[in-house]
Amino acid sequence: MGLAKRIIPCLDVNNGRVVKGVNFISLRDAGDPVEIARRYDEQGADELVFLDITASSDNRDLILHIVEEVAAQVFIPLTVGGGVRKVEDVRRLLNAGADKVSVNTSAVLNPQLVADAASHYGSQCIVVAIDAKHVMNDQHSSPRWEVFTHGGRNATGLDAIEWAKKMQTLGAGEILLTSMDRDGTRHGFDLALTHAISDAIDLPVIASGGVGGLDHLVEGILQGHADAVLAASIFHYGQHTIQEAKQYLAKHGIEVRL
């Protein structure tokens, strides 16, 4: 008996609707965020992640209303990210009912944001999202992953493992690690990446990007050493329920909250 591994459905929200992208590009509508959040809660989701991918600043406040509505009905931890640039953005999301706020691009542009937000609100509510892509080496050296920002468009030159360590030092409480190579492919997590980051730091790591079936969740935990696994499309389109996923993990000897 001990700490359960977590299954976390991810809801990408664009202009108030849940959508699902493929390789961060084309979007497909998956429904109403509040309704979907309620359904996942009933199915036993351990947490929920909302990523606001709304491009237009006009529609930015929609996410606050969604978070408010979800937080009044769903009593599990809620992580919200997307467009968080300043400590004030963190405050607004927490006040709307988010339990954790995830920062990605802004952490790269201004690492001090992570330190400031953690010292104001505590490390427990600061999640650093890292979008990492495998980069080829000239020599036969160990694999390397680079941090990308702006939804995967911009290379930063930062090494993902070193970046994760730096975020831990600055006060992050958790790392949400997405493989850009795998996201939307349904070919499974980048296990080498997940394993490398999870073993390099003390913080819990949520593996993300590439889940196409329940075996991928098992691999992410057993081989990737992830503390939690995040998936979207296998849950959004009814391929599997959260409960099925948990039973599958339990069958493979993984401790879950059933």
Partner: protein, 216 residues
């Protein structure tokens, strides 16, 4: 009159605590307050709190709420959550600050050296996620909650009471630590009932109905 006061001393988000209490006690008057007189007049008091202990103790004093919290802990149904549990003890290793000293004992950090489970896997700090709560006492707040039910935790420090009789439950990470204490009118937990779905809502509902025997 306020039925339940949630003490707001500027440490994090109290909205989820108030939403969860409103959900289980829809007719009760529930307020989030930083006004000591509102805390004094309330029939029940909840002290949540997230973040770091040094800030917590500073903010509590700075908001003039320390006396109101001490008084509530003496004479009315009192629920501490997370830092609201830790602050009840003598002192914390986090920043080496003094707590309220209502309960003898210390708040300690998980030891990095000992964080290996029985399968030799590294355990992460903070302790984050759903872990089992093993009840060691009968208590009104455990009513309807299965022993070893899972609750949501997120913390790097835990309490170590001098008197083990006040421990109401423990959790393994990887060794047992006290995750709930009960003494007279005080019940306090390290986990977050407001984020622990049905088990958590049941505990909060039990608190809104709890009539402890008070030794005034």
């Amino acid at each position: 009159m306020t039925d339940i006061a949630i003490v707001d001393y500027g440490m994090g988000n109290l909205r989820s605590v108030s939403k969860a209490l409103e959900h289980v006690a829809p007719t009760a008057s529930i307020v989030v307050t930083s006004d000591p007189s509102v805390v004094q007049k309330a029939s029940r008091v909840v002290v949540p709190g997230q973040g770091a202990m040094p800030n917590c103790m500073r903010e509590l004093t700075g908001h003039g709420l320390k006396d109101a919290v001490l008084e509530a802990a003496r004479n009315k149904p009192f629920l501490g959550i997370c830092l609201g549990l830790q602050m009840l003890f003598d002192e914390s290793e986090e920043g080496n600050v003094k707590g309220l000293g209502i309960l003898p004992g210390k708040v300690r950090h998980f030891s990095h050296d000992a964080m290996i489970d029985s399968d030799k896997n590294k355990l992460k700090i903070p302790h984050m996620g759903w872990n089992q709560v093993h009840q060691t006492t009968q208590h009104a707040l455990w009513k309807g909650i299965a022993n070893d039910a899972r609750f949501y935790f997120v913390h790097s420090y835990y309490v170590e009471p001098v008197n083990s009789e006040i421990t109401a439950a423990y959790t393994l990470y990887p060794t047992p630590f006290t995750c709930a204490i009960a003494k007279d009118n005080i019940f306090a937990v390290q986990f977050h009932p407001e984020k622990s779905q049905l088990a958590g809502l049941t505990l909060l509902s039990n608190f809104t109905k709890w009539e402890p025997h008070l030794n005034r």
